[in-house]
Amino acid sequence: MKRELPLFLTAVIGLFMILSFFVPHQWVSVPADFLQVSAIIVVAFGYVLGGANVLRVNIDAIYKRIPGWPFKLVLIVGLVATLTIGAIEGPGFLNPGTRSKWIYNQLYSPMQATMFALLAFFIASAAFRAFRIRTVEAGLLAVAALLVMLGRVPVGNVVTQWLTGSLHGVIPEGLWNAIQIGSIQDWIMNVPQNAAKRAILIGAAFGVMATGLRVILGIERSYLSGED
């Protein structure tokens, strides 16, 4: 019963939610909306468990003085202080002038921006490795990337217009436009790139459906824990 009941509920609710996609009638849509909204209640309980886990893991690490324990102390102090200040300030805790708002603006936002800003450096180092031409495929990738990068900045268009300027009026207008770097990068993005992307998306969409169906049918049941 410990496994059968969750499997039964998963199957019934899963099929009902699929049905709600095709049947807009209130007898289906209203309960479906209710089920989706109810998830918030479950999530609220989940946060209590999550918070307890954060405290347990980090207090344990501080107690055992594992390497880097002062960072965990900072985390615990930050967590408790933010939570306490927010609780004291009540529902309007994010109104202008509150301490919670100050924490958000002066501490949280700059730290978040700092982490995000690191992405620029990581992209540079990853691009450096990606564009090393060691195989034919890597060569094609590097050439395509170079064309797209040049085609997306004004200087790229200026250079190709300068290079092909003598041909303007000599060859047909359509052909002249096609050999401009802006047109080439448009073609790369709209044709081969889009085709590959859509192929992956179609495959992934059926993977989503197959996974959903496996869960609904109870074939995929590892999420229930316990022995197979």
Binding site: A126, G203, F206
Partner: protein
Amino acid sequence: MGVPLRWFQARPSRRAVTWIVLALALVLAPPATRAQDAPPPAPPRGLVGADVPNDAGRAIDLWWTRSPDDMPGVQRVTRYFLERATSPSGPWAIVDSVGAGNESKVDQTVRRGVEYYYRVAAAGPGGITQALGIYGPVRATSQWLNRTRWSVLVFTLLFFSFVLYYIWSAQSGRKPFVRRIPGIDAIEEAIGRATEMGRSVLYVPGITDIDDIQTVAGLVILENVARLTARYETPITVPVTYPIPFTIAQEMVKSGYLNAGKPDQYDPNSVRFISPEQFAYVAAVGGIMMRDKPAAHIFMGAFFAESLLLAETGFATGAIQVAGTANVHQLPFFVVACDYTLIGEELYAASAYLSGDARLVGSLKGADLIKLVIIVTIVVGCGLESLGIHWLTQWMVTQ
């Protein structure tokens, strides 16, 4: 040619000063003061309404003909106000408004089955003018079937039939062939390497909540990975973003250790709730990578801007990295920074591949067959469109 000096030296007459002051007052007066003189705009007309089809009876579509004063070159209308009542005699209440130039609006504040009357007013600097007539009664009703989703229904039923057939076929002993997926094979290799080095395995199940199926797929793979780490007696660390995936991840890891016959080795602290905030999570996972130096990093699930931050930090530590995601825009980052990458549907196939369960593998075969049907449909659709026949395309348009 210069301006005669006497023009400035001459004293202006009282009459001239009066005219100058009046002219300045007219130019500098606030628009509201002057608007009092402007006439109200001509009313809009032809208001018509209808129930929005294929919904649960929650909206009424309204459209009208613009006021003659709301045309190019004549801009005496600023907004249209929609008023609603349950009786032709009122009382009327404003339910919504749209800017000048608009001719339609969907009222999404209606109650199902209630009869409503509507009228529309044009407002401008000169005042508000009601429409000459009212429209009604109109009623929002719910439908039993969304007719724009016929094509989706057909393909869904077809897909389910294929999957069920192959599952049944696998159950009766015919296990379908599945090609080798190097990325999934690499997971065991990575765990083996971590075992040899005496270091841990880091498993990241994406950064989205459980409502994203990629997270579900990531968590299902986690159970298989935990089973392998339990078998090899290698510690595993699973940092999680949201509380619901966190509780499920705990169950998955526990289940993996149980199924490997080593429940006593399960460490409750191996699954850690970090934070739903994207970059706070990145900071924490980056810290785990740099401090604990896991020998294998496995990223399976939905990733966004943090994909490269995680994968590059992992690359810097020298760990073997296997990633899988269906987020197309993040795939290039993983391909560059990881040793193996599962692309799109391979992520969803991984749990079936790892478990070796014939029924799960059968579901993959069903997905392959529907893809063949889709490819044929696309080719036929391209042909029909080229011939100027549009019914297939129109049939597949959904709302």
